[in-house]
């Protein structure tokens, strides 16, 4: 039974090897010239403007939560779009009830005022 997992182990081994190999080769062969900009935290090309531990409004938390909700919906929709025809009417009903449940959630947060910023 466990023999089935040998390829998986081999893949883990190869992945670890590549990661260690690439990083150490670049460390050994690459030039090491530290500048102020290179040592600064990477902020997608922007200048860092302060401590990352600053307080920020709790509203962003809510936005992140709502984002997850619809992100998960999309994760289900991509594979469904691929097998849409093969699943036929039963699939349509299943996806319909899934969206309906999400819609109930959306109505709830809307009515509770979670979508208004102020």
């Amino acid at each position: 039974m466990l023999d089935a997992y040998v390829p998986l182990l081999a893949m883990v081994g190869i992945a670890v090897f590549i990661a260690v190999f690439v990083l150490s080769v670049s460390r050994i062969l690459g030039p090491q010239k530290a500048t102020v900009r290179k040592l600064a935290p990477y902020e997608s090309g922007m200048e860092p403007i302060g401590d990352a531990m600053a307080r920020f409004p709790i509203k962003f938390n809510l936005v992140a939560m709502l984002f997850i909700l619809f992100d998960v919906e999309v994760i289900f929709f991509f594979p469904y779009a691929l097998v849409y025809r093969q699943l036929g009417i039963p699939g349509l009903i299943e996806m319909g009830s899934f969206v309906l449940v999400l819609l109930v959630g959306l109505t709830y947060v809307w009515k509770k005022g979670a979508l208004t910023w102020d």
Binding site: Q86, G91, Y108
Partner: protein
């Protein structure tokens, strides 16, 4: 293009689950349009849904459906009825107490229904994924319910503690499921039962997986040494939620443990010594630590830990020919008794949010004789004194354990039960002695009805032996 064959679904097998989840979803929408001071309408609708699901039980089909993921049978019917009964009583309690204390929210009832759905899923689960899904649904709803008394710091603290410990337990469960799947290549309980590895590293992986899963469920039903969260969470949560949590999650968690032990069949003897040790430790720690408690809710929390040990002992005693009647009857007895005990505490709290201590029981007899009677009944049943239902539960467990050849375990269980009787009797005596200047508590119709039902249940089920036979027939 070829059609993909979807697994066929027999909706009559999952009828009760469908009713609960359907009405929970609808209720979330309906509740938005119910004004804040009329939340008893939401409670009434939730109660209707619960009773509807309870009535639908006998009309459900027996069998397995949804690609072997969900099952329904005669013992499931009993367990589902216990869970739905506990939910109905808890909704009545919550509707009264939370309104009095000014913390009533419509979401409470929606979340209670969702937690109930999770419990039903756990009871009907026939695959490891369904068991995990049920446990998570139940737990997440309970985390929120624990913290729902929003401005209260104690309630929020309890919710956070429960969340962190619960997430920890769920991690153990998932890892156990992964190892079991790795060793057997199946997630369906009936398939795993036929593929238990007999030798080699697969066997050790398999039993490691089973052990981790038992740890995961052990957190949920608060077996020692996974019990640390129980007193804090029971004390911090609103009392009506505590009663729901203490009863429902314990019943559902134990059904999952029973499913695992049954799946192992004859191989269960590998883990029996460990579980025996845990059961004895749970009974003793629960009974001994409870002696030192002054807070009533903490005392009942430790008492529930001690009862968890008894149920586990019953599960182990009934892997042999005796059937499942001992643990299932014990869970039913535990449900009735704890609902009564927490219900009385909830009524005594009234509109205050203070944590009641033993001293608050002093002289209760002089101000509320009826409440005193119900509390006395509950305490006697917890201690296992005839003619209450608690006595029959303890009797069945100890005799099942004795018959399956673990004489020493039966003797230790009897001793633990005697230890436990000490603090129940102490609470009992303080109710009938002394006087008090505190005002008489008035009962709302909802609480009175709920308390009356459970009190009659404690006596009636305890007095009528046919009720055991009914459950034994269904459970074997």
């Amino acid at each position: 293009m070829a059609q993909i064959a979807l697994p066929s679904i027999d909706y009559m097998v999952i009828l009760q689950i469908l009713i609960i989840f359907g009405s929970a979803t609808a209720l979330l929408l309906i509740d938005l349009f119910i004004p804040a001071n009329q939340k008893k309408i939401t409670a009434l609708l939730a109660l209707g849904a619960t009773i509807g699901a309870l009535v639908a039980g006998p009309y459900s089909n027996s069998g397995v459906t949804m690609a072997n993921a969900v099952a329904f049978g005669s013992s499931t019917l009993i367990v589902n009825s216990i869970i739905l009964f506990a939910t109905a009583i808890s909704i009545l309690f919550a509707s009264d107490a939370m309104h009095k204390q000014g913390i009533e929210r419509g979401e409470t009832y929606v979340l209670m229904l969702l937690a109930t759905g999770g419990m039903l899923l756990l009871a009907q689960g026939a695959s490891l994924i369904t068991l995990f899904l049920g446990l998570e649904l139940l737990s997440i709803a309970l985390y929120i319910l624990t913290a729902i008394a929003y401005p209260r710091i104690a309630s929020e603290e309890a919710g956070l503690k429960y969340l962190i410990i619960g997430a920890f337990g769920a991690g153990f469960l998932v890892f156990g499921i992964a190892l079991t799947f790795g060793a057997t290549g199946s997630l369906v309980l009936s398939e795993i039962a036929t593929r238990i590895p007999v030798t080699g590293i697969e066997r050790s992986l398999f039993f490691t997986g089973i052990g981790l899963m038992l740890v995961g469920f052990g957190y949920k039903v608060s077996l020692v040494p996974f019990h640390m969260w129980t007193p804090d969470v029971y004390q911090g949560a609103p009392t009506s939620i505590t009663s729901f949590m203490a009863v429902g999650s314990k019943v559902a968690g134990f059904i999952a443990i029973i499913a695992l032990v049954q799946m192992l069949g004859a191989e269960a003897q590998v883990i029996t010594p460990v579980l025996m040790g845990i059961a004895v430790l749970t009974m003793l720690v629960g009974s001994i630590v409870a002696i030192n408690q002054t807070s009533l809710k903490r005392m009942l929390a430790y008492s529930s830990i001690s009862h968890a040990g008894f149920v586990l002992l019953g599960v182990l005693g009934s892997t042999q020919a005796t059937g499942l009647r001992a643990p299932i009857f014990y869970l039913a007895a535990y449900t009735l008794t704890n609902l009564a005990a927490f219900g009385v505490i909830m009524v005594l709290e009234g509109s205050e949010e203070r944590d009641l201590t033993l001293a608050d029981l002093t002289g209760l007899w002089t101000r509320n004789p009826w409440l005193t009677g119900i509390m006395a009944l509950a305490l006697l049943s917890l201690a296992g004194v005839p003619p209450t239902v608690g006595f029959l539960g303890k009797f069945l467990v100890i005799s099942a354990v004795w018959q399956s050849g673990y004489m020493w375990m039966a003797i230790i269980a009897a001793f633990a039960s005697a230890f436990a009787a000490f603090f129940y009797v102490r609470a009992l005596l303080s109710m009938f002695s002394g006087t008090t200047d505190r005002p008489r508590m008035t009962l709302d119709a909802r609480s009175s009805l709920a308390l009356l039902i459970v009190a009659v249940g404690i006596i009636a089920v305890g007095l009528m032996p046919w009720s055991i036979n009914a459950i034994a027939l269904a459970g074997s």
